[in-house]
Symmetry: C2
Subunit: 169 residues, 2 copies
């Protein structure tokens, strides 16, 4: 794996209120798809170290919805959204942090097969203002992104993420 992509690259778009995250994994697209849709796997890697994720609602299919709570040291954060589309190479979902209940981002995740058992994850988050986008970028979220993806690397390396046949479309 290209070392430059072993940590996530987070970029703000200059012309639209979007930020993008790019990260490579030693995994197939089907494995990454499963890690983002299987509830038991998802809670094991998402978010920063020391945070515990509990699913309140999880239907990772087109037209489904989700809600989870992230807790650490008595602090509890809620997040929720709906799944606009869930398909093997692409997930489109809405995303709200409940501390800002009227703020909504539209997220698109793409699993890009690089061959040789490697996959590039591209995430795009679209906000309705540059202020909202920049607030996300200033929130310290890169810590959770990097630590979460490191946990996902470890799950993948441990053989805990089996790409399901349904995801190999």
């Amino acid at each position: 794996m290209n070392d430059a992509m072993a940590t996530a690259r987070i970029e703000a778009d200059p012309s639209v209120p979007v930020f993008r995250i790019v990260r490579d994994f030693a995994a197939s697209p089907a494995q990454l798809f499963r890690a983002h849709t299987d509830p038991e796997l998802f809670v094991r890697w998402v978010g920063p170290d020391g945070m515990t994720t509990t699913l309140d609602r999880w239907d990772a299919s087109t037209g489904g919805s989700w809600r989870y709570l992230a807790t650490r040291d008595g602090m509890r954060l809620g997040f929720h959204g709906c799944f606009h589309e869930v398909r093997p190479d692409r997930i489109v979902q809405t995303f709200t942090w409940e501390g800002e209940p009227d703020g909504v981002a539209l997220q698109t995740l793409v699993f890009e097969d690089l061959g040789d058992g490697r996959t590039r994850l591209r995430t795009q988050s679209l906000c309705d203002s540059f202020e909202a986008r920049d607030a996300w970028l200033r929130s310290g979220m890169e810590v959770g992104v990097d630590q979460g993806y490191a946990k996902l690397d470890a799950l993948l390396a441990g053989g805990r993420v089996v790409g399901t046949e349904g995801a190999e479309a």
Copy 2:
């Protein structure tokens, strides 16, 4: 009612890939909410004259989803999305026209009580590029918007839209 607002005003935002539609109705917020969430009412007004709308999926609640087909003269258009949030004063949903299956807009509808039995509907549609936004504005959609809202005016005037208590939060 202010005549200037009896037809929809459609505006493109200069700095973000958003367009907004503003339209006043002789109705309460609860009536407008019901017209946008009750499946039997919704199909009676949405879209241009002569187009028949058939719901394929309709769960107008937070975390629900929708799909409808619009047909006229043998032409069939499909649209679908999920409901991020449905509450009496605000609906947030995703929106895809299936002719452009990877294009997704995030729509926010707000029902603003003007008093005296009048409500202002504000709709915001957020796209992920100016090209996508401008394609919507060039699509001729204003005909469907104006004719649809005129049908909704007629339903309201005919007493066919009763605001439900659940929407009076």
